[in-house]
């Protein structure tokens, strides 16, 4: 049921990008693909999206790991859990606006630092919104996905009985550092690597946060595609579709290389 709409959408986008459909279509052409593939803008958008995705997931995973291991007991219940899981209630757009209100040069923290005398004027606040490194988008993504990772790590810790393995290692004379490096982290990483990669793709494909917190150059791939499809030139629409197909191909190839598709296939076969 999922494959049908996705595949028809991909077929439509492919035929649009090849000039086979669309009201402005003038017959088969590879010109739009040529334009998309040779555009430096397109490739820098892919790299930028990958950077934002990988950094966001890495930082969020580190924070979640700290929370899951540090507060094992109180994380699933009590007031602390409300605080940690509160961001789960926030839609991406709301979180992006919150980050904007907190960290923009005229935002909450800038005014707070100014009133505390830490900075001389509001403009002296470091630029983290619409900045070159995508810090605003990364912050927003971290706020959104850290609770997911905290739940994930906490559950793996419990289900895999890591606590018992840690105790066993301790009785065999391992140091805290050795237990963490040789027992806890490898198990957690092995069990969560698929999810982590899927979240990199999820962040790469996010739209609202980059639209509100990002800049025009470099630009996240989703925003670049929508701009191509929706701005002033109707002849750019097929180029936008070509870009989206390239993005899909890159995601499929990455998943294939990482073995995720194989894992899904194996699960499907074993279910049958």
């Amino acid at each position: 049921m999922v494959i049908l709409p996705v595949s028809t959408g991909l077929i439509y986008a492919t035929s649009y990008s090849l000039g086979l459909t669309g009201l402005m279509s003038q017959g088969f052409t590879t010109a739009y693909w040529g334009e998309a593939l040779s555009s430096q803008d397109v490739w820098s958008s892919f790299l930028y999206s990958f950077w934002v995705g990988i950094v966001s997931v890495f930082i969020a995973a580190c924070i979640a790991l700290g929370l899951a291991l540090g507060w094992q007991r109180s994380i699933q219940q009590g007031k602390l859990s409300y605080f940690i899981f509160l961001p789960l209630c926030y839609p991406a757009t709301v979180m992006a606006f919150l980050v904007h209100q907190w960290f923009s040069p005229s935002g909450f923290f800038s005014r707070l630092f100014y009133n505390l005398g830490i900075i001389d004027n509001l403009e002296a606040f470091p630029i983290v919104i619409r900045d070159y490194y995508g810090i605003g988008i990364i912050l927003c993504s971290i706020f959104l996905i850290t609770p997911f990772f905290t739940i994930l790590f906490s559950n793996i810790y419990k289900n895999e009985r890591i606590n018992e393995l840690e105790n066993l290692s301790k009785t065999l004379g391992s140091s805290v550092n050795q237990i963490l490096r040789r027992v806890t982290l490898p198990i957690l990483f092995n069990r969560s690597k698929t999810t982590l990669l899927l979240f990199v793709i999820f962040v790469m494909g996010s739209y609202e946060a980059p639209l509100i917190l990002g800049r025009q150059n470099p630009q996240m791939i989703t925003v670049a595609i929508v701009n191509k499809i929706q701005k002033f030139n109707l002849n750019d629409i097929p180029v936008g579709y070509a870009m989206s197909i390239i993005y899909v191909l890159i995601v499929i190839i990455s998943l294939n290389f990482s073995g995720i598709l194989k894992t899904f296939q194996n699960r499907k076969i074993s279910n049958i």
Binding site: L4, S106, L122, E123, Q216, N217
Partner: protein
């Protein structure tokens, strides 16, 4: 699984099939239109980003059309590209009738909708109130240098203004040289957006670099575009390091620019509605000290229009609705600064005595410049291809550098 797949395909195909329109209506006879159009329910797609405009529509226009013709109008939010995408999808899907019966558009959207042949027309001359429209005025009769040819109905007329905070700016820059000197002296306080309003500002600058604006008016001229855009990009290059965030990034749209202005991050914003400064002060978004002006190098004046999609099933109802919106009473009400402040498209010279009265007691503007003072700095909209080229070159030559 295979059966389910085939079933879903069949259901999808079946759901695309719609019934043929029940009747063909003669749209050249107003009495027929009145008869056929009343007591229907129609949809209008328009930008709903301004509470005052929304209030004008919901509190005045909608009750009036309901009481006069029994027409219920469902207003749907969407502008420019959303309208084009919606109508384009309907045409591509080969549906028999559109979800939308009336659209609020101008220039570049009109150009795109004509490119894909999505508009019904010509239809405007049938409306009784259309005889009072000032079509002889090129700012109304032409849309982005294109003849409207009855495919869209003029609804309002506006001119771009630059808005500034008078507490921070004693004397706003009036010429290009003054603007350059101002931004160098006050870095980070001026910018323009990366969308329609910013491009309109760039178009105004482009025209100001031409020895004679007529060189850029009319159809797109590659030679003249190259000649004057080179000067434009040289100028933007000079001011870029002193723009907001050193010109490395631009607000994505005018709403973002208004927010930056309201928070004091920048001292200038812009608007394509010359009375917007009053509206935004009343709403509490802009400070009381906000003022609007037009620089001496001029700004674009343009009109906005109403169009009927080719696939609309309720064209006669849409025409009744459009006729009401260009009535003297509705136009005068829209012109009041406290209601909207939108310029009329009617020629007061053509209006009969009994309808002129509506325009007699319109309150004057508070902080926005009077329309008659703006006219001498009014520049015409350029052909849509200029906007496409400016948008591409702005990205390649300014943003990406």
């Amino acid at each position: 699984m295979k059966r389910i797949f085939i079933l879903v395909c069949l259901i999808s195909l079946w759901s695309c099939k719609t019934e043929e329109p029940s009747s063909k209506i003669d749209l050249s006879n107003w009495e027929n239109i009145k008869e056929q159009g009343k007591d229907q329910e129609i949809s209008m797609m328009m930008w709903m980003g301004d509470p005052k405009i929304n209030a004008y529509m919901s509190d005045y226009i909608l009750p009036k059309i309901k009481s006069e013709y029994g027409i219920d109008v469902n207003i749907v939010n969407g502008q420019g590209n959303v309208i084009v995408q919606s109508l384009m999808s309907e045409l591509q899907a080969d549906v028999d009738e559109s979800e939308i019966d009336l659209v609020w558009i101008n220039g570049e959207t009109f150009y795109q909708l004509r490119q894909i042949d999505a508009l019904h027309g010509p239809w405007t001359s049938v409306l009784p109130n259309s005889e009072y429209i000032n079509l002889e005025n090129d700012f109304i009769g032409k849309d982005f240098q294109q003849d409207i040819n009855g495919f869209e109905l003029p609804w309002g007329n506006v001119q771009m203004t630059v808005i500034y905070d008078s507490r921070k700016v004693d004397s706003p820059p009036k010429t290009k040289d003054e603007l350059l000197a101002f931004v160098v002296k006050n870095p980070g306080k001026f910018t323009f957006d990366n969308h329609f309003t910013g491009l309109t500002f760039l178009k105004s600058l482009l025209i100001s670099f031409a020895e004679n604006p007529n060189e850029l008016y009319g159809d797109f001229n590659e030679k003249n575009y190259r000649k004057y855009s080179e000067k434009l990009w040289d100028y933007i290059d000079k001011i870029k390091p002193y723009l907001w965030q050193k010109g490395e990034v631009f607000p994505e749209n005018v709403a973002q620019m208004h927010q930056l202005f309201a928070s004091g991050e920048i001292w200038f914003t812009m608007s394509n509605n010359d009375s917007e400064v009053d509206n935004k002060i009343t709403e509490g978004l802009f400070p009381e000290s906000a003022r609007a002006y037009v620089p001496e190098f001029g700004t674009i004046q343009n009109s906005h229009y109403l169009g009927i999609p080719k696939l609309s099933k309720y064209k006669s109802s849409a025409m009744l609705f459009a006729n009401l919106m260009i009535s003297a009473e509705a136009q005068a009400k829209k012109m009041s600064p406290e209601i909207w402040g939108d310029g009329t498209v009617l020629s007061l010279d053509k209006l009969p005595e009994d309808q002129l009265q509506y325009f007699e007691n319109i309150t004057s503007r508070k902080h926005a410049p009077e329309r008659e003072n703006l006219q001498k700095f009014a520049l015409m909209e350029l052909s849509p291809e200029y906007m496409i080229r400016l948008s591409e070159d702005f990205r390649n030559k300014i943003i990406n550098q």
